[in-house]
């Protein structure tokens, strides 16, 4: 295992390629098991960086905080299952990492702008055009963009009501 980090993690930027490569490993692990809980301590361990600095380093490297990245991956998987399977929506929610249908439905709607059921109905009505490209690349390309926190998005859309925090949705 490479160790390009030194002991001044707090001072260094996230631009060291060795460290970026290790941060990528944490991103890969979330990609491969987005239904699992990914607390910062677990991700930091994968990347061999300090838990105190992991979230900032990840955001510097990939542009979004790790928990928000995980949310987009879960929604991406859920949209694929809604589109391509006949699984009940509750099963999809549980399989993609949510503990309740309510939280899943609310987060899905906040991010995509429609309910899981409406999304499924709309997809059913559309012909599939991208069958020639490898599925994962298509999936990644259609990943929901989440440039602001879910809670912020929710706040903006509802008018400044009392916003739930994004971390509420995470294990």
């Amino acid at each position: 295992m490479d160790t390009g980090q030194g002991n001044g993690a707090g001072r260094s930027t996230a631009s060291d390629p060795d460290r970026l490569r290790r941060l990528l490993r944490a991103k890969d692990r979330m990609d491969s098991a987005s239904h699992e809980p990914w607390p910062v301590a677990r991700l930091a361990q994968v990347s061999h960086v300090s838990p105190a600095h992991f979230a900032r380093m990840f955001k510097d490297a990939f542009g979004v905080p790790p928990h928000r990245y995980l949310l987009t991956r879960r929604i991406e998987r859920a949209t694929a299952l809604l589109r391509d399977s006949t699984l009940p929506i509750l099963d999809i929610a549980l399989q993609t990492g949510w503990n309740s249908l309510g939280t899943f439905g609310r987060t899905f709607r906040d991010i995509t702008g429609e309910s899981p059921g409406d999304f499924r109905a709309r997809m059913r009505a559309m012909p599939h055009a991208l069958a020639e490209a490898p599925a994962c690349y298509v999936s990644a390309a259609l990943r929901p963009g989440l440039t602001i926190a879910v809670s912020e998005k929710r706040r903006r859309e509802e008018g400044a009501q009392n916003g739930a925090t994004e971390t509420e949705d995470m294990p």
């Binding site: 390629p17 970026l20 990609d31 599925a135």
Partner: protein, 136 residues
């Protein structure tokens, strides 16, 4: 075939590490390994694809300036380079063999619509999809 794409290059963080990976772990062969000072033109070939070379190039001056080289190294390490696809006859067998050799898989084989695919990365961070296409 006399016309077509002959070389496509990857940027790698370390050419020695890349060579060891593509040759020892993936089973590619060295096609050209030519040095001129700090510059090294390094290409490998899939054993069943003699008309195509995969270049393993280091972003470095004077080909690119130092700051650009650093930015490219960061992009590679972040997995931000374009998709690569390796076609195989038997994805699960290749997966077992390569995993045994120490290849870092990011997705184990999954069957989708008759295709089987897995994902791995080279030491630099370049991401490969390994694809067994549906037969017929």
């Amino acid at each position: 075939m006399t016309q077509g794409v002959a070389v496509v290059g990857l940027y790698v963080h370390d050419q020695d590490a890349a060579l060891a990976f593509y040759v020892d772990k993936l089973g590619f062969r060295v096609h050209t390994d030519a040095r001129n000072g700090d510059y090294r033109w390094l290409t490998v070939q899939h054993p069943e694809q003699p008309s195509f070379q995969l270049g393993l190039f280091a972003p470095q001056p004077p080909t690119v300036d130092a700051a650009t080289a650093q930015a490219l190294r960061e992009c590679v390490a972040k997995g931000a380079m374009p998709p690569l696809v390796l076609q195989v006859d038997d994805c699960r067998a290749a997966y077992e063999r390569m995993r045994g050799a120490g290849v870092e898989f990011t997705q184990e084989p999954i069957e989708r619509y008759g295709n089987v695919d897995a994902s791995f990365r080279d030491p630099s961070g370049n991401g490969w999809k390994m694809l067994q296409a549906r037969r017929g």
